[in-house]
């Protein structure tokens, strides 16, 4: 292989590029990034960066002295791929013919229909999104967050800490219930309410209302299905992400919910791998493809994807480890590993949820399948170690 192109310049792309060098690849290495920024860390965008505790320089993912001999093409998007000739076409009209391709184009925030062009409505995925939201939160009094996933819950907490009145609207029974299960989600929800977030669960949003101001439409509230109107100066929509794979349509690379990959990141086309939020790797334990939209997923899989590409697919990956997730909300360090939906029982084994400091273990029969820690860093780490080193069971 003389030329490898990594399409996507965020965590998964950067780490895979680094892994290619670490694993001995000496050829030309091009990294294409749609955003104009060098690789940066996204998790703080909804937390310390949004709060103003850290700045843009703190987000940089590259080391100061780092030189993995990368040719950066930033501010251009890949718009098409011909898998047979391995030609990547770019948004600036140029194209690139390469030998190996790493697809790491990530995912984009899902938007709410009929809010396009409405001022005061935000999604949060990129640094530019975070700058725009931070600027608006400075002068706003009331925030409505639509969607109680991690982004929604984190933005709600940050905005509350900035002094805004915050309402969080969640269509399910409680925020984060899809990840940590209903019982523990309710415990975390109560901690949000204690800290001043108004929570409306089981509610559907019918529209974002708007008024005309200075010739443009600006959001002024959110209407729910039961007619309730929640006034807002700013609305944040956190309803998930969709993989950035439109540029691969018709390329010959097989797509599902993301780029379909084997358990080593290899796509349906030899010499092309995919990693990060855009990639749906085969999970042998679950017997299906699925995307892991978490930071640690991108980190763990970069080296595997690089090995798959360099070996032509003959490298055998180690079995996947359970996904580890962290989140900071108010004074709570929330840590989670495993799968709550596999559990029959969940028990609090340390502390008390009401105090915002506890550890809960999820079990299927007697086997621990997931652990949740809230401000229990030391104990959680011991449990995480146990779950990560347990033999993987086929499901």
């Amino acid at each position: 292989m003389n030329t490898v192109c990594v399409v996507g310049a965020s965590l998964a792309g950067l780490l895979t590029a680094r892994a290619l060098r670490d694993q001995g690849y000496e050829g030309r290495l091009v990294v294409i990034g749609e955003e104009r920024h060098r690789p940066y860390d996204r998790p703080p965008l909804s937390k310390d960066f949004l709060k103003g505790v850290i700045g843009e320089a703190d987000l940089a993912l590259e080391d100061d002295g780092e030189d993995p001999r990368i040719e950066w093409r930033l501010g251009v998007a890949a718009t098409g791929l011909d898998a047979v000739s391995r030609r990547i076409t770019l948004s600036d009209g140029t194209s690139l013919v390469v030998d190996g391709i790493v697809i790491a184009t990530g995912a984009a925030a899902r938007t709410l229909p009929r809010t396009e062009g409405l001022r005061g409505v935000h999604t949060l995925r990129t640094l530019d999104d975070a700058h725009a939201l931070r600027a608006e939160l400075e002068s706003a009094g009331r925030l409505v967050v639509i969607g109680g996933g991690f982004i929604g819950a984190e933005v709600a907490a940050t905005a509350r800490e900035l002094g805004l009145g915050v309402t969080l609207v969640e269509s399910g029974p409680a925020p984060l219930a899809g990840v940590v299960g209903l019982t523990m989600a309710q415990a975390i929800a109560a901690l949000h309410e204690q800290r001043g977030v108004r929570l409306i669960a089981g509610a559907r949003v019918t529209e974002v209302t708007a008024t005309e101001r200075a010739g443009s439409l600006r959001a002024d509230g959110v209407r729910l299905e039961d007619g309730t109107h929640l006034p807002a100066d700013v609305v944040v929509v956190g309803i998930g992400a969709v993989p950035n794979t439109a540029w691969l349509r018709g390329s010959g690379v097989e797509l599902g919910d993301g780029v379909l990959c084997d358990e080593g990141g290899g796509t349906s086309v030899p010499g092309i791998v995919a990693v990060g939020d855009c990639a749906a790797w085969w999970d042998p334990a679950q017997g299906r493809h699925h995307r892991i939209e978490h930071w640690t997923g991108a980190r763990q899989r970069a080296a595997v994807a690089a090995a798959t590409l360099l070996s032509g697919g003959t490298a055998r990956p180690a079995p996947p480890r359970p996904a580890y997730i962290w989140s900071d909300q108010f004074d709570m360090k929330i840590q989670f590993i495993g799968r709550a939906d596999e559990a029959d029982t969940v028990t609090v084994e340390e502390g008390d949820p009401a105090d915002g400091r506890f550890l809960a273990v999820y079990r299927q029969a007697d086997r621990p399948v997931a652990v949740l820690g809230v401000n229990q860093v030391r104990l959680f780490t011991r449990w995480r170690r146990q779950l990560e080193t347990m033999p993987v069971q086929a499901g």
């Binding site: 860390d41 703190d58 930071w295 030391r378 780490t381």
Partner: protein, 116 residues
């Protein structure tokens, strides 16, 4: 030299946090070696003594960057900067730490008390 603890009270595989400023973590590895580094991860305020000790490395308990206890070097993001290392001395079965003169690499928002 800062006295840490009697050697016998820090078993292999365990870590101890010293409440000096900034705090220092002392590790006793499974192979019986003793190391001391700044306790605070260089990325964000987390105690490395609460981390996952494996060989001569400790993994940050929050975001899983791994620090080499011998050199302080970090393996992968989110941490970028090495953690400061300190010398460890054992005298009469007591562990002592000789604090480094080098400036610490503390995360954004964390400062040494009494300094801006």
């Amino acid at each position: 030299m800062i006295p840490a603890c009697p050697l016998a009270s820090l078993p292999r595989g365990e870590a101890l946090r010293l409440d000096v400023d900034p705090p220092i973590a002392v590790f006793h590895t499974d192979d019986g070696d003793l190391f001391a580094i700044d306790d605070t991860c260089t990325h964000q305020d987390a105690s490395l003594a609460d981390g996952w000790l494996e060989g001569c490395e400790v993994e940050c308990p929050l975001h899983a960057s791994r620090f080499d206890l011998r050199t302080g070097m970090v393996d992968a993001p989110p941490a970028k900067r090495p953690v400061r290392t300190h010398q460890v001395v054992v005298e009469d079965d007591v562990i002592y730490v000789v604090p480094s003169d080098a400036p610490p690499n503390l995360p954004p928002g964390v400062t040494v008390k009494g300094q801006a």
